[in-house]
Amino acid sequence: MAGAFAYFLPAAKAAWDTTGAVVRVTPSPTDLFTTSPTATPSATPAAAITGAFTILLLGSDDDSKFYSDHVLTQSMILVRVVPSSKQVTMLSIPRDLYVHLSTGGFGKIDGAYSYGGAGAAIATVEQDFGVHVDDYIWVGLLGLIKLIDAIGGIDVVTSNPVLDDYYPADIYSSWPYGYERVAVLAGPQHLDGIHAMQYVRSRHGDLQSDLGRSQRQQQVLLAIRQKAKQLSPADLPAMSTAFGGELKTSIGLSKVAQLLPLAGSFDNPDAIRQIILASPYTHGGAPDGSLFANWDAILPLVHQYFP
């Protein structure tokens, strides 16, 4: 018992430290900015989650170019999970989408987090897309790299060669404004953290730029989920270490315990729907190189898959 307690202690501490103020996004968006410092993991046994829920995945460059917690969320993916039908829908929100921000005014949607943290990002998505977000997970660059390395890499069929002469050299460099050349070749392969990051982050060599890498991000997310099914509790120490300071989430430990068995039961890749908001859902020409949203097309789509 003591061992089990201490075994999960680092994970619990990491989650507590990084989550700090747990953002409660249910039941009302007005609670978005309230904190629950007294939140504690439930002592009752984990009950299976049966109702559908929606999670907002956020990914950020968090190198030294940015002030801590004032980062842009260059990856925003809404994930809807329906346990009863074992359906998963992933909708990538273009980071350059020009929207009404929850903190006031208009701007690129990736700026919402930098103005008001996860609460502002969630509120912006909820008000503009008309969805309800139950929880969020934010991951920094280094966290994703370390996570993929900690789980021993992932298998991905990279859809195309990703070649970039101007890939930001900001992760392990003391000068975060430099560039490096990267080449991730195409086809089935076992990616380590660095190469998986290059695959999902590079956009200069892709005609669809951010939309193209959104597709790649979804591929890698699904590969991580697939790999997670193969792991054992013995891998948790490495994973909790990997996430030190690079993960924030509103999901409490008790809910994680509920989600783990659920994740293993989703084994039909055809039941995973992937949506990218390319044309005609978005088009260029908005201020600062951002994208205008075609809400007449987006909202029916969102309401269909995120009711």
Partner: protein
């Protein structure tokens, strides 16, 4: 009484801390198999199968080239960015790519891994002041007469743009990059034309491009297609459709079959074979659908196909062997033999069906390695 409670609490706290810490450290040292790093092929671990393949196979792991012959692996280069080995047509040497920090070059190596000649010089003198002045050379191959080097090379980059789509190039073996000719245009922000295979009358390669450019019904996303071009600068020809999403061609020793992988736009990789008549591919035959197949490579004696695939779901890539019987149709059953003993008046006996031929399954040759699945395999007969 109160003091003893405090003592008890203190002792329990120490037990919790010590027991917990030791449990944490113990379990932390017991990573699951899928998260454990792969071993070097030369490590003396038991092989999954004792099958010994003919000749010598060259393949890559962690920037080193390994030679598998007589059932044993030998590391022939250091872990120094070596990759993509291919054989000279006369089998006397290897070509391989060596990655630099931001570039890659083609070298000639002896069969035992000693570099004997550098064929390209892709590092820019200016370093990374202008990153685009550095270049990549990938997938080197020599023509059948040994006089022409084929490769993928990003030599068509435009000034001031971000496109790094490489094209298929040919250059005289031993010549300079100034003598190189682009056979294809590399496309536009697509990933380019990759993995050229010189064949009589031209070159087969994988073109990466948006499927909707070639098929109005295809999705507007990047896919791989087999293409053929018969002269430098000519607009090549599609051999497979965008919806098949095929890549990594490998020509059979007889030159009449092409092995490749097709993904159909999904996170799958089917081993597929088609006949090749010098200009078009015949109907596809899907051989393996339950593995993530990479780099299919024909045995020089035609006895089967080696390939890379994970041995466990989501694991690193191992070496596999598929005997020829797995993808060749069994001979037709012989006609039923007449029953001896003269005319038969009664009902004919029910012929006994021939026993079913058990399917020939792939053979896993390695267990704990992590071969580079983007690097072709070279096989010396």
């Amino acid at each position: 009484m109160m003091i003893s409670r405090f003592i008890l609490a203190g002792v329990l706290a120490v037990v919790v801390v010590l027991g917990g810490t030791s449990t944490y450290m113990y379990l932390g040292s017991k990573q699951s198999r899928v998260a454990a790093p792969p071993e070097k092929p030369t490590a003396a671990t038991p092989r999954a199968q004792a099958t010994t393949l003919p000749g010598a196979i060259y393949l890559t792991q962690s920037g080193a080239i390994y030679r598998l012959s007589a059932g044993r692996f030998h590391q022939i280069t250091p872990e120094a960015g070596w990759s993509q080995p291919s054989l000279a047509p006369n089998g006397s040497s290897l070509l391989a790519v060596k990655y630099g920090q931001y570039w890659s070059d083609v070298y000639v190596l002896s069969l035992f891994g000693t570099p004997t000649r550098q064929l390209t010089s892709n590092q820019a003198r200016q370093g990374m002041n202008d990153p685009s002045l550095n270049h990549w050379s990938f997938f080197p191959r020599l023509s059948q007469d040994g006089g022409t080097l084929w490769m993928t090379y990003d030599g068509l980059k435009c000034d001031g743009c971000f496109d790094v789509s490489p094209a298929v190039y040919s250059m005289p073996f031993g010549g300079t990059i100034r003598q190189a000719r682009a056979w294809t245009d590399g496309g536009y922000y697509s990933g380019g034309d990759q993995q050229p295979i010189p064949v009589p009358g031209g070159v087969i390669y994988t073109k990466y491009d948006y499927g909707s450019k070639y098929d109005a019904k295809a999705e507007n996303k990047l896919v791989g297609m087999m293409w053929f071009s018969n002269r430098a600068g000519a607009y090549g020809r599609e051999l497979t459709t965008p919806s098949e999403d095929c890549r990594t061609p490998s020509l059979s020793p007889a030159g009449n079959q092409l092995a490749m992988i097709c993904t159909y736009g999904k996170q799958v990789s089917y081993l597929t074979i088609a006949s090749w008549n010098g200009s078009t591919l015949g109907p596809r035959t899907t051989i393996l659908t339950n593995q993530l197949v990479a780099q299919p490579t024909w045995a020089p004696d035609g006895s089967g196909i080696a390939y890379l695939a994970p041995a466990v779901p989501d694991g690193p890539f191992q070496l596999w062997w598929l005997p020829k019987a797995a993808y060749t149709a069994p001979p037709p059953s012989p006609p039923p033999t007449p029953t001896p003993g003269g005319p038969h008046n009664g009902p004919l006996p029910t012929p006994t069906p021939p026993p079913p031929i058990p399917p020939v399954k792939p053979i896993q040759l390695t267990t704990n390695n992590g071969f580079d699945a983007t690097s072709p395999i070279a096989w010396l007969g």
